[in-house]
């Protein structure tokens, strides 16, 4: 059972990492980074490290994503009502 969960989580984590590197849309890439953090949180729980899991959830998935999103907003790459197409164009301009 544990084996199966770990397998799923590791696959999710690696796919998240790859997506963060390959996705054109920077906002989606940021979300993919959060996916890595979240699966890492679950892995930490399975590895009997509740303190680290909590830190990873609060800092890695929460705070870091918040900081990155604020940064994206100030960079002008992400506006709330901006369609994906124009976001990609903007990111591609860089």
């Amino acid at each position: 059972m544990e084996q199966f969960f770990v397998f799923l989580l590791v696959i999710m984590m690696l796919l998240g990492g790859l997506a963060a590197m390959l996705l054109k849309d920077l906002l989606a890439a940021t979300a993919a980074t959060s996916v890595v953090s979240l699966s890492l949180t679950a892995i930490f729980v399975l590895m009997r490290a509740p303190d680290v899991a909590m830190t990873e959830a609060v800092v890695g998935a929460g705070l870091s994503a918040l900081i990155l999103a604020l940064g994206l907003r100030r960079l002008g790459i992400w506006q709330l009502d901006m369609p994906v197409k124009s976001r990609q164009k903007k990111a591609g301009d860089q």
Binding site: D51, V58, R74
Partner: protein
């Protein structure tokens, strides 16, 4: 050409790391200091959470360094972003009643949760850093929802400075009493009680306040647009 070499480097790295990790004694760690700490920690610090006794006791100076790194990062971030200009009152960015009321409701909840996590750091998972982040978000959410308002930077600087100074002061007090720097003193109490583990909860409180104030300042700094910032296309 450069791409080719980079790929070559990466494949080499993957190969190297895979072989190396294959050699590691996984799941049967030597745990030389780990075992010793497990045997002594409860008696030495009185904290039920061994990670806390390592973070604040055995490796207390690491935590001081970590606090200073956050401090340095936020100071340097302030230097980069320059003068904080009061955010423009943007009427167009009205976020709506429901969001505002929801945030008002969330604020006390986040505050209590943050303080709980900070104060129970020596008993349960969590502690100053995790709780501090929650505190920071509690103070930052209103800024996000009401674009006109801003956090009081003066107050944040004072909290931040005094909390950091009190962490060091507790350490120096131990030194003054004839112990070593950052040696836990005060009564250790009964392990498992809220009021136990000597100075550790105090240290975590200082950490929590400092982290909270620092991150709130940093987030506010990142979120406020400055005059003449041309990249914002509304």
């Amino acid at each position: 050409m450069q791409q080719f070499f980079s790929m070559l480097f990466l494949i080499g790295l993957l190969f190297l790391l895979s072989i190396l990790t294959g050699l590691l004694p996984f799941a049967t760690p030597p745990m030389l200091i780990g075992q010793a700490i497990q045997q002594q920690a409860v008696d030495a610090t009185g904290a039920a959470n061994l990670v806390t006794s390592v973070v604040l006791g055995y490796r207390g100076i690491d935590t001081l360094g970590e606090l200073s790194i956050l401090f340095a990062a936020s100071a340097a971030g302030g230097l980069v972003l320059g003068k904080t200009v009061r955010a423009k009152k943007a009427a167009s960015e009205n976020t709506g009643f429901i969001l505002q009321a929801g945030t008002d409701l969330l604020f006390p909840l986040l505050l209590v949760a943050g303080l709980y996590i900070v104060l129970h750091g020596h008993l349960t998972p969590g502690g100053g850093f995790q709780g501090g982040v929650l505190l920071a978000t509690a103070f930052f959410l209103p800024v996000l929802v009401r674009p006109g308002t801003s956090v009081s930077h003066k107050l944040l600087i004072v909290i931040e400075g005094l909390a950091g100074a009190s962490f060091i002061a507790i350490g120096l007090l131990a030194l003054y009493q004839g112990g070593e720097f950052l040696q836990p003193f005060l009564d250790k109490g009964l392990t498992g009680q809220l009021l136990s583990a000597g100075t550790l909860p105090l240290l975590y409180l200082a950490v929590g306040l400092k982290v909270g104030a620092e991150l709130a300042g940093l987030l506010a700094n990142l979120s406020t647009e400055q005059d003449g910032e041309n990249d914002h296309v509304a």
